[in-house]
Amino acid sequence: MTIQLGSRVRAGRPLDPRLFLTGPWVRILSLIALVALWQFASRYADPVVLPSPVRVARAFWQQLTGETLYGLLHFHVGMTLFRASVAFCFSMILGGIIGFVLGRFTRANNFFDGWVILGLNMPALVVGILCYIWFGLGEFALILAVVINKVPLVAITIREGAQSIQPDLLQVAQVYRVRRLTVLRKVYLPQLYPYIMASARAGLALIWKIVLVFELLGRPNGVGFMLSLHFSNFQVYNVLAYAFAFIIVVMLIEAIVLRPLERRATRWRL
């Protein structure tokens, strides 16, 4: 039975349509295709509105090394990265604790559920404006605004995870009187891990974007500030250069931090 199945797959491999466009080179090929398409489109468009990839690459290099009035690209990316990381850490810790408590204690959940929904639906921009008005145009206001925006999202994801914890395994810990910290580390956290990773992923994508908006609104540096500056000057190539710098950094974080973390934590799965 097994052999038959195996040989069928092996024999069918060269013709199997499912294997068309698979493998690691596909991703690279598709990105190259996208750049080619862009290059092609830019030939027929106004270069001011849609600069070519080559022009954007030149702008990128100039922003990174050349003389600009407002500081170099890596400084601005660095500022944004700093704000995003601080906001990310606080959001994950705070949202994680709140979500866990809400998920484990029904009464707390009943009481605070309305607050969570309120927080989820509060427009990010409103929180940003209020924080800048209340606390001034500073780092604290920006980071606080981002944290307020992100915490409810982390909380509902972790709450979901905490509610789905298996009582079976908790009973094992309870009957053998395992220490609380050990229970947290070896029973709760591994079960929450997929939820933590999901909210970290979503958080990484969201927090960057909110930070940009708030930088645009009230900070004198950072990627968001530079984007608004280049928008005012109508330098689309610089806008795109910053957009790419930004995307590269996020992809690196995904590849260097998130993926290995996930692989390590899920290695027990079959």
Binding site: Q174, V175, Y176
Partner: protein
């Protein structure tokens, strides 16, 4: 010298809120008394729904809501009396390796004596210490759970149909391993089962529980020399004799066993498929 009582149970009433109507209650256990001297292997046999698992949960302290008194080695379950518990399924943490699963619950004394490793080797799992449980067969997972149950040399061990849904040879081997551990550690064991042959094979004494609300209807000391062999004529004859002597009490047992046998067959077939 009078044997020390490791376990004293006197439950007047244990009820659950009824799942059907709000406010109403289902009485699971009523007027149930027994005690167990140190080192005894006690089997508890009863039809499903007779409150066997509930009884173990009360003794272990997992459930503290009942009327009556329970004392394990002189302590109430809530006060932290040391018990081992083996559930119907292995209940291993899938994200911890075999050795980590046992070490997670091992106390300082056990760790100092390297007991987790020793016990797992005794269970013939020495070459699987760093394996994750989902790579092991059902029988091997139970052996890990068995090692875990014994690792802190508990005064009292509670086993809740621990070898259910395993095929016969695997279950037989596990029973032998359990008997070896029991002899080594001189543990006191409460073993819940619905299989009379298993009870006769393993137990010094069999407590028969009635259907809901559960109480003890027969307290029988097994008068058979050890070592016993599960498939021996002696065990089978003893079982038959018990069934003849107490037809009223054991009315349900034969039905249960034939049902269980069917269930096991079904499982064996599905495992092979």
């Amino acid at each position: 010298m009078a044997a020390v009582k490791v376990l004293e149970v006197d439950i007047t009433r244990k009820a659950f809120p009824s799942p059907v109507s709000a406010g109403a209650e289902t009485v699971a256990i009523e007027d149930l008394q027994f005690h167990v001297p140190e080192g005894e292997f006690t089997c508890i046999l009863g039809p499903s729904g007779s409150g066997k698992t509930t009884l173990l949960q009360l003794i272990s302290g997992l459930d503290r809501d009942y009327d009556g008194t329970i004392s394990v080695a002189g302590k109430r379950p809530a006060e932290g009396a040391p018990v081992g518990y083996m559930f119907q399924s292995a209940r291993l943490m899938p994200w911890l390796t075999v050795i980590d699963n046992v070490e997670m619950i091992a106390d300082d004394v056990a760790k100092a004596n390297d007991l987790p490793k020793t016990l797992l080797e005794q269970m013939e799992l020495g070459s699987f210490l760093d394996t994750f449980p989902n790579r092991l067969s059902g029988g091997m997972q139970r052996r890990v759970a068995l090692a875990r149950a014994f690792v802190n040399t508990p005064k009292l061990l509670l086993l809740d149909e621990p070898f259910i849904s395993l095929d016969a040879p695997v279950a037989l081997r596990l029973r032998q391993l359990l008997l070896n551990l029991w002899a080594d550690q001189k543990a006191t064991i409460i073993f819940v089962t619905h299989d009379l042959r298993e009870a006769v094979h393993l137990g010094d004494r069999i407590l028969f529980m009635s259907s809901s609300p559960g109480r003890i209807v027969l307290d029988h000391g097994v008068d058979l020399a050890r070592p016993r062999t599960a498939e021996s004529i002696e065990v089978e004859e003893y079982r038959q004799r018990l069934l003849r002597q107490h037809p009223d009490v054991l009315e349900g047992v034969q039905q249960m066993e034939s049902d269980a046998a069917k269930g096991t067959d079904a499982l064996v077939t599905s495992n092979m498929g």
